[in-house]
Symmetry: D2
Subunit: 287 residues, 4 copies
């Protein structure tokens, strides 16, 4: 990433008002920024405006370090929630996983092939079996087994690791433990979970068993930001695949794996590219 | 349909036992039947065997009218639920509909183009607006408005029409009234409903509103046999389509229409071709 | 459509330059327009910028009839191709069809249910069998049979009908005759064809036979603007559906019908809502 | 895999004749086999019958080693092509790959997690960059660079490795070199290739560039058995994913990766479970 290629990405959400598109575009244009992606949306039901603008920093009239201060007056006048990201920032991911390794392997391989613009310095698991997966790909592995008695203590240790390793994004890659509301609220819009059903169908435990018993003709996977409400957070990505009466719970589990890994990876990529904006309990995805 | 092309279709379900495939195939073969479709499945979870066999009646050694009696001993020895259908039987459909006409138009047009091997002699609605749709396509239209007070009475009149017109299959093509358990139980596996969500998500009223509020990235449609449990019957067909944060409830309704009409038509066709077998609360679909 | 709800939609394409988003947004904002949809894209490969902006005309400072002249200077300074549409304009569609009626029925039913913001005053066919379909839905039907000898003459008659009925959009709803380049060029980006394959696979005749013979596991449908090159015009919408070794050419034809009618209707809707912009041989679709 | 769980799978293809289903089912039943999967199909266009039957060997009356001889008379009388497989046989896979590692990583991870019932003892590449991927997962890595001059020689060395390591299945996991017809014919129905388009569209080089230039709204991937005709062999699995005008060739490449790896893995699994039967240039897939 040379200075020449550096881009800035501005994410905005605020109450809908006239002139928002013009004002932001004009701010970038007046300062000499070349917009390479701009997208916006008004949710008329919620009366919320959300916008993503990405522009080249080469030739931009405001230096990077002054940009927040320069934009603040606009943000204030419209009551904006906003964040600013530069393309040379490499977020740090912690992957939490239990026994099932498909999502973990997939994320680690993407990272090594350069498809994810992030580092994955640590992997945390309540089981031991995926240690070699992590270390082969250069991640530290921490085994933090959990039972009813040790749960609060182990959660505290996870938090400690996240701080110590300066983690920006937590990915629950089939981590089968429920995190406390306090934990989740400490990482707002920064924990992505993959649930193995097309939510809101089959929330909670054993979704494939539920799907088998209900006799559905589609199974699904849902990647969402974790919130205090289990399986209830803002959805980032969902997908489904056909099943039939021939499928057992076991073959649904098997078919579901591909959905889970692809849907989770897609959501992580969208987050890393700053293409998601959460408002209310929804996610705008500018893909 | 000439005698030469006539086929028989046998549907079987029974507890799983050895020799089922061989016995049925041998019955057809020994009597000179040429099998043109055979499919079977054992649901190992439920320990149920289901089978569909279709063969040409030309040159078959047992005349049509003697066939049930000839097969009965086999059925008895394995404890089979079974039914036998001939390809020259044309089932009679009643379509029940409320204000939304897309599924009705679609079914009527398919019928006229010869894509459905069934007649649609009557359309019943609690609204008046689709009368011309029905009569243009040669169906009688009955307007049976429903309110809390008249509901039992009107349901009785619907039943009367179904009997009078010798109806084999009732299609609820976005009929927005809940039928009583007694009504539904009178037509076991003979009422097909289209629900405008990927069940079991968003059962009940206003599924698109629920979907919009939950912020899902997929909407769906489910065609199922109606049972006494609302939106809980055996699923025949499901499909989903992508939505995004740009979609309002209104655009979800609009996109959902195409799903609903295609999914319902698919389920009706599968039923008419005797490709569905209900066991427990599930449907085997031999497509 | 009351004056209060009236919206204007501006479609723009031009060589990519800085300031385009800001300039157009500022034009709308300065004149008091409330933007209800704005989307834009730069095709970096082609160096083309395309934009769609829709705003409410209520309270807009420039009267409808003066709007083109007011925008012209901006268009000139950036070298824009542009068009302007008002939401109370109801385009007039001619449907051309051969023997297969599924797309025709579908479009006519959508029109009657108010799902298409267009009129369908005429249907033209080289066969007679769909006359009642057209007239039941209030369209004039013209039977213009075609053979090698009469083709140029009949094409001239079709053109005559299009002019006489002031047709804005021609929909080839499985019209199995090839129109001459001269005909097609007379309606640039105003003829939509449905081809029954996922183009560019299986262009030309009998795509389902080709698909069956090749043993594909997916069949598709493609809606595109007709150009002088057969099946080569800008694609608006495509979809696919699974098939298997069990499918014959006949069942592929049957399954394909649903794809064709839904894909064609989607493309027609996108065109009518001014959500498509053609540049080069491609289509930007702002859905 | 204990003796108790051992199953036999019989694959049959032959000219269509009466009595095939009954004869094979009766053979298994008479000898005490419990059928756990039976599926068959007649391709009426090609007049070919194909069948897959899987049964438990526990309590089966014919010992494993005598089974081929016991079945041979049936095969002879119907002119069958047939093969017999036991569930404790673990095929050996060689993966051939160039620079792109996503399919390789995916296959290796599936193997390690026990999702593929096969070994992957060797990986062969014309580049060096994926050596660590292979060795981390316990596979030998052979670097056999290819240019116009060395191609025949290197192909001979690949063949040597395949023989030396007793390879049953060759997987071309984005191997960007064209193998000679002689090579391919030496492994009939035993080389699976993933092509990064929905064949027959965009055969040959740079399919994503072709797709970008054509402006398609779907991209695809196709897994097929390699034959002497490039990208022309029997198709096992295909899938597509939506793209839009926003996609560049680069983002199509990126989105396509997920399709490629999932489609290839699916095809490899189907092959390993003996669920594919090739006849003519088509594949019956009993899933």
């Amino acid at each position: 990433m040379t200075e020449t290629n550096l881009t800035a990405t501005l994410l905005v959400s605020c109450p809908d008002q006239r002139g928002l598109v013009a004002t932001v575009a004009e701010f970038v244009f007046r300062n000499g920024g070349n917009i390479i992606h701009a997208d916006q949306h008004t949710d008329t039901g919620e009366q919320v405006f959300v916008q993503r603008v990405e522009w080249e920093m080469a030739d931009f009239g405001i230096p990077r370090e002054s940009l927040p201060a320069a934009f603040q007056p606009i943000a204030d006048s419209y009551g904006m929630n906003w964040s600013l990201h530069f393309s040379d920032e490499i977020p740090r991911i912690a992957v939490l996983v239990s026994r099932e390794g498909h999502c973990l392997y997939d994320l680690l391989a993407r990272r090594r092939m350069g498809e994810l613009s992030a580092d994955i310095p640590i992997v945390i698991s309540n089981h031991q079996n995926l240690e070699k997966a992590a270390t082969d790909f250069g991640a530290e592995f921490f085994h933090l087994p959990v039972d009813a008695a040790t749960k609060p203590h182990q959660e505290a240790r996870i938090l400690e690791k996240l701080r110590e390793w300066r983690i920006d994004l937590v990915v629950l890659a089939r981590y089968m433990q429920i995190l406390s509301p306090e934990f989740v609220q400490g990482y707002p819009h920064s924990i992505i979970n993959i649930h193995h059903s097309f939510l809101p169908a089959f929330a909670g435990a054993r979704p494939y068993r539920q799907a088998y018993q209900r006799g559905v003709k589609l199974i699904g996977a849902t990647a969402h930001y974790a919130t205090a409400e289990l399986d209830g957070g803002p959805i980032i990505a969902q997908d489904t695949v056909r099943v039939s009466h021939r499928d057992t719970e076991a073959t649904m589990v098997h078919k579901g794996r591909d959905l889970e890994m692809v849907t989770l990876a897609r959501a992580v990529e969208l987050h890393l590219e700053h293409r998601t904006i959460v408002y209310g309990n929804k996610t705008a995805v500018f893909d």
